[in-house]
């Protein structure tokens, strides 16, 4: 494979839409297959409350994954999301010590998320720095501030009504987090697939210079995407902190990897330019089902991470292997 074909992906040969649709159908089939396998291998799987617990495996990560999907489609990445959760959670914990109530805590969580996103966005769009290094730096910086504030301590004592965000149920087994996840999925679906802003995101990811010359304010769109990713990290921080009812600086360590995996598994091109929200939603379910099913079979978490790592490489490698094989077959 020559280098030119790598840097300029040839999208004309296979219509984008058809291919995306087939990817999502494939993913859906995988999800259904895992569901069926799980319900046969463990007698505890098919239980409404267990399945409801299962959704907590992915709802918080998926909220960030929606915004991350847009960011990756636009050709940038944010590796600092898990650290933003840590910083936002630490800020909320500190506010609790000062006696701030639940509405104030929510505002602080969202505000810190927005600020962190704005900081990333400023460095990337105004200073023109590569997002991958900037966010590796802020990843250390944000979590580092949490460590400076907390050290080896933990914040506890969140107000009892704050627990609703992570532990509350709206209707029977439908948790508040799941409802929030569903609403955000819908909002991001409309934003990416039905608005001018969404078209701009695709345009930037495919050709940022071309987009600039077509009158799209590339820097501003990217800045908004970093803001959104920060905001979603703040939302996830509220849910996670409320669910755990405590804050440690090591909260949500390694989530950035799982979130990027979720986005890529959902069919978003890591080089930018293509992807869809339904794909990310199905990918969230696939990852939730896999980790929950393995958990019911007493597979340790670190072995699950092998599965997730292999999924990440496998879902990208297999289509390429298939394409290579087809092209060689066509030559003959």
């Amino acid at each position: 494979m020559s280098d030119t074909s790598r840097s300029i992906p040839d999208r004309l040969q296979s219509p984008l839409e058809r291919r995306l649709k087939s990817w999502e159908t494939l993913l859906l089939a995988v999800a259904v297959a895992i569901f069926i396998v799980n319900s046969f291998t463990s007698p505890y799987f098919l239980n409404a409350w267990n399945l409801s617990d299962m959704t907590f495996n992915f709802t918080e990560k998926a909220m960030i994954a929606f915004a991350m999907a847009l960011l990756i489609i636009a050709g940038e990445i944010d590796l600092s999301v898990a650290s933003i959760i840590a910083l936002a959670s630490t800020a909320m914990g500190a506010a609790v010590q000062l006696g701030v109530g639940t509405p104030g805590l929510v505002l602080i969580g969202l505000g810190v998320g927005l600020l962190c996103g704005a900081f990333n966005g400023f460095l990337v769009t105004r200073m023109g720095l590569p997002s991958i290094v900037v966010t590796i730096g802020t990843m250390s910086l944000f979590r580092g501030i949490s460590y400076i504030v907390l050290g080896d301590q933990a914040y506890r004592g969140y107000p009892s009504d704050f627990a609703f965000f992570g532990q509350g149920y709206v209707f029977w087994v439908i948790s508040f987090e799941f409802v929030l996840f569903a609403c955000l999925a819908l909002i991001y679906f409309v934003l990416l697939h039905k608005t001018n802003f969404g078209r701009a995101v695709y345009a930037i990811g495919n050709n940022a210079v071309g987009a600039e010359f077509s009158g799209i304010r590339v820097a501003r769109v990217k800045f908004i995407l970093f803001l959104l990713t920060g905001l979603m990290s703040g939302v996830a921080a509220i849910c996670l902190t409320s669910r755990l009812a405590s804050t440690r600086p090591s909260i949500a360590v390694g989530w950035e990897l799982e979130i990027v995996t979720m986005v890529v598994l959902g069919g978003v091109n890591i080089l930018g330019g293509s992807g869809s929200i339904p794909g990310v939603v199905i990918a969230a379910f696939v990852m939730g089902l896999v980790t929950f099913g393995l958990g019911l079979l007493n597979v340790p978490g670190i072995v699950m991470s092998i599965v997730i790592g292999a999924l990440l490489i496998g879902v990208i490698a297999l289509p390429r292997l298939w394409e290579n094989w087809r092209m060689q077959a066509a030559k003959r």
Binding site: M1, S7, Y147, I302, G309, L312
Partner: protein
Amino acid sequence: MPKNILMSREVLLTGAIALLLAIIASRFPAFIAPTNLANVFNDTAPLILLAIGQMIVILTRCIDLSVAANLALTGMVVAMINVAMPGLPVPVIIVISIGFGALLGVINGVLVWKLAIPPIVVTLGTMTIFRGTIFLLSDGKWVNSHEFSDSFKAFPRTEFLGLPLMSWIAIAAVLLFTLVMSRTTLGRAFYAAGGNPHAATYAGIDVGKTQFWAFTISGALAGLTGYLWVSRFAVAFVDLAGGFELNVVAACVIGGVAIMGGIGTVFGAMLGSLFLGIISNALPVVNISPFWQLAISGGAIIIAVILNAQANRDKGRIILKRAEQAT
């Protein structure tokens, strides 16, 4: 012209390190005693070895996030070999660690070269797979100090001309790779492949293959560091050197390696590593909580990447000025 800028970059960093040492020495003169500085260098040796490999990978417009996991996996493998066969001489262990590390690097390299998967995805994936493999191999158990043979533990501490062998290995690697990068075809190919992949392709350089070699070298160095790390601290476990890949990338960025490829020197990577090494060694001395470490290296990465971008912009302006003068 670029050579001058690179030199000034390294002079700048040397100045920053000197300033840092001066500030620490003004309150704690014992810190800059030669024996303590030798200790700091020895502590930083693993970071220097990994940063050299990472620099080569970044030169080719890739990134290797699996180095720390590679280090830990190779460390666990040689630890278990040592427990199973205590009689195996250390040179054989070293060859095994370099070979095994290189093999793990080859996995990354092949995925990047033959399947054209973006390097960040490949190495994020292999990072978790390597860590998980350590768990599968060791069953989550630690290999502890008393289980290692004495020669296995003694090697990196053995002193030669007043410095431990660990430091000498880092020095040897810096010299070797300075030569490789400036005097061999492969070394120049790393710069060419990252500086302008299209031009490199037209010049007859296989960019994918060059990236493959970069990952292999990075893996081999990570493997060697794995043995050194495990033998020096006399322990091997799943989370060994967890998160260290970020320090390695930070050392490179601080050392003036451009993340977009094509710019960087072995000497710069070493200086970047020393900068971080001095900070982490100085924090307990000047009575700052070690919890500051993470935020400081994060801040250092951001400042360094801003400086890097500034340097590149200056270069562009100078070329334009020269072009103006020429016309």
